[in-house]
């Protein structure tokens, strides 16, 4: 593989690292929530974009530079990405279509939003699963008092009645939402 090949390979690895840190961090979720279809689309666009900027950056590095060009080109291309791409626009028939930065932003928004959605849905599904198990547990009221405080049983029963909901389901749901780790441990008993 020649220098250019190494540059692109290093830029691709750096792009993967950037994506697996950026999407969970920006979406405030865990990595496993982030790895949906839109994450991979964003990663492909990021790798293509970073490869282009690496190619541009590599040409700018002087031959006397002490750090091998394949490494410095890749770093400059990936981390100087934003600066370089801000000024690159796609034009079709001499009309501005969309700047590459807009494409990256839209792809990032989709990846982040998808991670947030997956996190919200899976969290709710976990809460429902726990609530369904705990609502039939004969010690439910004891758990509610223990983990949510005295008087909570009466409060939640009143709330369930006011909303026409099943009292045990409401109490179990309250445990699942407010004490997720404790209620998950109770389900394993």
């Amino acid at each position: 593989m020649n220098d250019f090949g190494y540059e692109i390979a290093i830029a691709s690895v750096l792009s993967i690292l950037v994506a697996i840190i950026e999407i969970p961090w920006t979406s405030k979720t865990r990595l496993w929530s982030s790895l949906g279809t839109y994450f991979w689309v964003y990663l492909v666009i990021l790798i293509v974009g970073n490869s282009m900027t690496t190619w541009v950056a590599g040409a700018m590095i002087p031959k006397e530079w002490p750090i091998p060009a394949c490494i410095s080109g890749a770093f400059l291309g990936v981390f100087g990405f934003q600066v370089i791409l801000k000024n690159m626009n796609l034009r079709v028939f001499d009309k501005g279509v969309l700047s590459i930065e807009d494409w990256i932003s839209k792809a990032r928004d989709l990846a982040v939003a998808n991670a947030v959605h997956e996190h919200a849905v899976s969290k709710r599904q976990q809460e429902i699963k726990i609530a369904e198990k705990l609502k039939v547990d004969p010690s439910l009221n004891t758990y509610v008092t223990q983990f949510l405080g005295p008087g909570t049983v009466v409060e939640l029963d009143a709330l369930a009645e006011a909303n026409g909901a099943d009292k045990n389901l409401i109490k179990a749901f309250a445990l699942a939402i407010q004490k997720p780790e404790d209620s998950a441990a109770l389900c394993k008993k």
């Binding site: 979406s27 405030k28 979720t29 932003s105 839209k106 928004d109 989709l110 982040v112 939003a113 998808n114 947030v116 959605h117 996190h119 919200a120 849905v121 969290k123 709710r124 809460e127 709330l159 909303n163 909901a165 389901l169 409401i170 749901f173 939402i177």
Partner: protein, 89 residues
């Protein structure tokens, strides 16, 4: 983005509700009330939440009780937030 998005965000309460959801990415109704302030009237934020959902800036994961419903930002919401930040600068 759906039309009418920025008209909704000209309303101060809707903007505060939207920003609270965006900041947290996902938040339940109880915590949203806390973030918006101790004395906030529930009825004042339910309207904006509904409008924000209608234009697709946020989505809702429902629950047996309203207080436990989770609101989270969508891709359109993230884009709107970015544009709003640029306007406010």
């Amino acid at each position: 983005m759906q039309p009418g998005v920025f008209e909704i965000l000209t309303d101060r309460t809707a903007r505060e509700v939207f920003k609270a959801v965006v900041r947290q990415r996902s938040i339940n109704f109880t915590n949203l009330k806390k973030v918006l302030g101790q004395g906030v009237d529930v009825n004042v934020i339910v309207g904006p939440l509904t409008k924000l959902k209608e234009v697709g800036l946020i989505a809702e994961e429902s629950a047996p009780l309203k207080d436990w419903a989770t609101y989270y930002v969508t891709a359109d919401g993230l884009e709107a937030e970015r544009k709003l930040s640029r306007l406010e600068l």
